[in-house]
């Protein structure tokens, strides 16, 4: 147990900080979920990041990474968020598909997809859920039928994040038409610009369209685009979901930076601040620290050879509830300014907090609802019997 940074870690932090100070755009980029222009600006930022070899520091050097450990990844993320660098339009690729390909992909797939993922040249969407499936991924009905050297995809996907503007998608398809539930599913990569793909933006509560519905009609995909063998999709997808809910979906620095901003917002009220809100601000800061400490502990454990298990579900619950509470506290401090849109003249910083609050409301729902996560904790971590 040593909770001090090594000299090398300190030097690494300094290196990240210096680079970010020089490269992070002064003005925030427009959202990548609201316009093609914002999307492209973020894609350009990914290219800049990649030039600095900061795309994904844990990746091997051959794929554009630095082969660093998870502690350094955390330090990188801390400096990244502290510098208020743009959100990662590429997160489906670098955090979800990338690690999956490295574990389950062929050499050809890695060579074909990883470098362009790292540069942002190809931005990825995910295509898991379906209108009648929701959190029940095993209910997937979209199918992939083998036809010569191709798969022919058809079906209806929903909640495909980034899919409105992205280039490629990875999704679960039923390759065995006789199969039920989680058997007979496969993970297949497809070009979103293929004939037969229709993208319908979903208008989110906050007016953005970070998700799309995808209507797939006879979309032809080379058979080599399957990841792993036919029927292995569920297993691979669960490994990915573990990663998603686990370490990378929400890096702790995001909340530490938000809690710091909340503390400053509270401080600006001086003595007029309601002491109950003061206590909630302290709670927000404590939670942000608890989450960060927990992730550091998990990262250390993984580096020491441990595995990530059902505690990924505890992370999901914790960050999603913390995120809502943190932003709600900000809205309560803002009072009657809370409802104002960012471009309202009287909003000042209120609009950003409102955006963050609405965004946070999705947290307990996506990547498996918190109800599902609590079931997972109860059954897999505590050993309670299945319903």
């Amino acid at each position: 147990m040593d909770l001090t940074y090594s000299e090398q870690e300190i030097a690494f932090r300094a290196e990240v900080r210096a680079w970010m100070a020089e490269h992070v755009p002064e003005e925030p980029l427009p959202s990548f979920d609201a316009s093609r222009e914002g999307f492209d600006a973020h894609r350009a930022w990914e290219a800049v990041l990649n030039e600095g070899r900061w795309g994904m520091v844990t990746w091997p050097e051959e794929f554009g990474g630095r082969g660093l450990d998870l502690i350094r990844w955390l330090i990188f993320e801390e400096e990244y968020y502290a510098a208020r660098a743009p959100l990662r339009v590429n997160q489906n690729g670098i955090f979800l598909l990338g690690p999956t390909l490295m574990e389950f992909g062929t050499e050809a797939q890695k060579a074909r997809f990883l470098p362009k993922m790292a540069t942002g040249e190809e931005i990825w969407a995910q295509a898991w859920s379906e209108p009648q499936a929701g959190s029940d991924l095993a209910a997937v009905r979209a199918k992939a039928v083998r036809d010569g050297d191709d798969y022919v995809l058809s079906g209806h996907k929903i909640w495909s994040s980034r899919a409105v503007y992205a280039d490629w998608a990875f999704g679960l398809f039923r390759t065995d038409p006789e199969s039920e539930r989680h058997r007979g599913l496969s993970l297949i990569l497809f070009d979103l610009n293929s004939p037969g793909v229709v993208r319908q933006p979903i208008h989110q509560i906050n007016g953005e369209h970070g998700f799309a519905e995808l209507i797939l009609e006879d979309v032809r995909v080379p058979a080599e685009n399957i990841v792993g063998a036919e029927g292995q999709g569920w297993k691979i997808c669960m490994a990915t979901a573990g990663f998603e809910r686990g370490l990378m979906l929400r890096s702790p620095a995001r909340y530490q930076v938000a809690a710091g901003a909340l503390a400053r917002l509270a401080h600006s009220r001086g003595d007029a601040l309601d002491p109950v809100l003061r206590a909630r601000v302290a709670d927000a800061a404590m939670n942000a620290e608890a989450y960060a400490l927990s992730i550091y502990a998990t990262a250390s454990r993984l580096e020491a050879g441990g595995k990530i298990g059902a505690e990924a579900s505890t992370n999901k619950i914790f960050w999603s509830e913390m995120d809502i509470a943190l932003h709600e506290t900000a809205l309560d401090i803002l009072g009657d300014r809370a409802e104002l849109l960012p471009d309202a003249p009287g909003a000042q910083d209120a609009g950003t907090w409102l955006d963050g609050y609405l965004f946070a409301l999705a947290g307990p729902i996506y990547a498996g609802t918190n109800e599902i996560q609590r079931n997972i904790i109860a059954e897999r971590m505590l050993g309670l019997p299945r319903g």
């Binding site: 009648q132 929701g134 009657d336 409802e339 104002l340 609802t369 609590r374």
Partner: protein
């Protein structure tokens, strides 16, 4: 002691509910806001015709001469219907204030739909629908000022709720119609009315958010059965319903003639919390659909978010309630005590 609404009160409420069911569906609301508007002149004319604007104005001044308890359920229905036009504020706050302040001619104009008065109050500084106003009434604890539309400068302050067309107001002129103690008292009276009727709307939103979630949870299948058969979903909605059940009687008691400021504060807090719990549970029960604009959930969520924080925040109202608790006896026999 009779803590039930009279048949007349019930009939009034049903009349308003019927009107809103016909003329103010969420489809109507979406059509209106999609066209960039927040005010349906036909619907407003219908409300004017029903006489609801003047419900709290004495009959001698052209109103219905009713009390708050007579119309509290109407305000709840307006909340549930997400009525975009400012009936609740005009009926509950603006016209009673103008009447208090002796503005009989203006009251008469508003009652017949010929004038529209927007109100700026310390607890509701951004005004709804001001650009349509012929007059602006500005209250501070020092003075109440009435200005014509041409005597003020409006700045649009867009809200996350597309049906709330808010503006901030700066005064370039106007006439002072009350000062000092009279202004101070009017601010308190109007503030209490504003909080009470905001609470009523919040209660309506809360129940409606539960109702649409129940309907959704009965339909939507997951893992082979309706999601409403899962205990977690049941308990989310049951907890929200408990919050509604114990906010409702507080609201109704707060509409009584002798209700204290502390009781109104309590109603605002309780209805606000119920609406918050219910709308957020609604998002959760609707899952991904709750996070989109395709279902109606977001409309209730956004209205609740706004109403909870105007006409006094939870902090303000808690301080009011706590102050009374610390300076007066508290016990069973103080439950229906009159204002000190």
């Amino acid at each position: 002691m009779e803590f039930v609404f009279t048949e007349e009160q019930q009939m009034m409420a049903e009349m308003a509910q019927g009107f809103l069911a016909d003329r103010c569906t969420t489809a109507d609301l979406r059509k209106l806001t999609d066209s960039g508007d927040t005010f349906d002149a036909d619907r407003w004319a219908g409300l004017v015709d029903l006489g609801l604007l003047g419900a709290l104005v004495p009959e001698s001044a052209g109103g219905l001469g009713l009390g708050r308890a007579d119309v509290i359920q109407i305000a709840t229905a307006c909340g549930a219907a997400l009525l975009p036009e400012p009936l609740v504020d005009v009926m509950g706050v603006v016209l009673p204030a103008l009447n208090d302040l002796g503005q009989d001619a203006l009251v008469a104009d508003v009652l017949k739909g010929a004038a529209h008065v927007a109100l700026v109050h310390p607890d509701a500084q951004l005004v709804q629908d001001a650009p349509r106003g012929t007059h602006i009434l500005v209250m501070t604890p020092e003075a109440v000022t009435l200005a014509g539309a041409e005597e003020v400068t409006l700045t649009a302050q867009p809200s996350i709720d597309p049906a709330r067309a808010l503006s901030s107001v700066s005064m370039d002129g106007g006439a002072i119609i009350a000062q000092d103690a009279e202004a101070f008292a009017q601010v308190a009276r109007s503030g209490a009315a504003g909080a009470l009727f905001a609470a009523a709307q919040l209660l309506g939103i809360a129940q409606k958010a539960i109702d649409i979630s129940v309907a959704f949870a009965c339909e939507r299948q997951q893992f082979g059965k309706p999601i409403g058969s899962y205990q977690a979903i049941k308990h989310h909605l049951a907890s929200a319903q408990v919050a509604v059940e114990f906010a409702r009687p507080v609201l109704h008691a707060a509409a009584a003639p002798a209700a204290t400021a502390a009781r109104i504060a309590h109603a605002k807090i309780a209805c606000g919390r119920a609406a918050d719990l219910a709308t957020r549970s609604a998002v959760q029960v609707h899952g991904g659909m709750g996070y989109t604009q395709e279902t109606d959930v977001h409309l209730y969520l956004k209205r609740a978010l706004a109403l909870r924080r105007i006409w006094g925040s939870e902090t303000d109202h808690r301080n009011r309630y706590a102050a009374r608790l610390e300076t007066s006896a508290f016990g069973p026999d103080t439950l229906f005590a009159k204002e000190a």
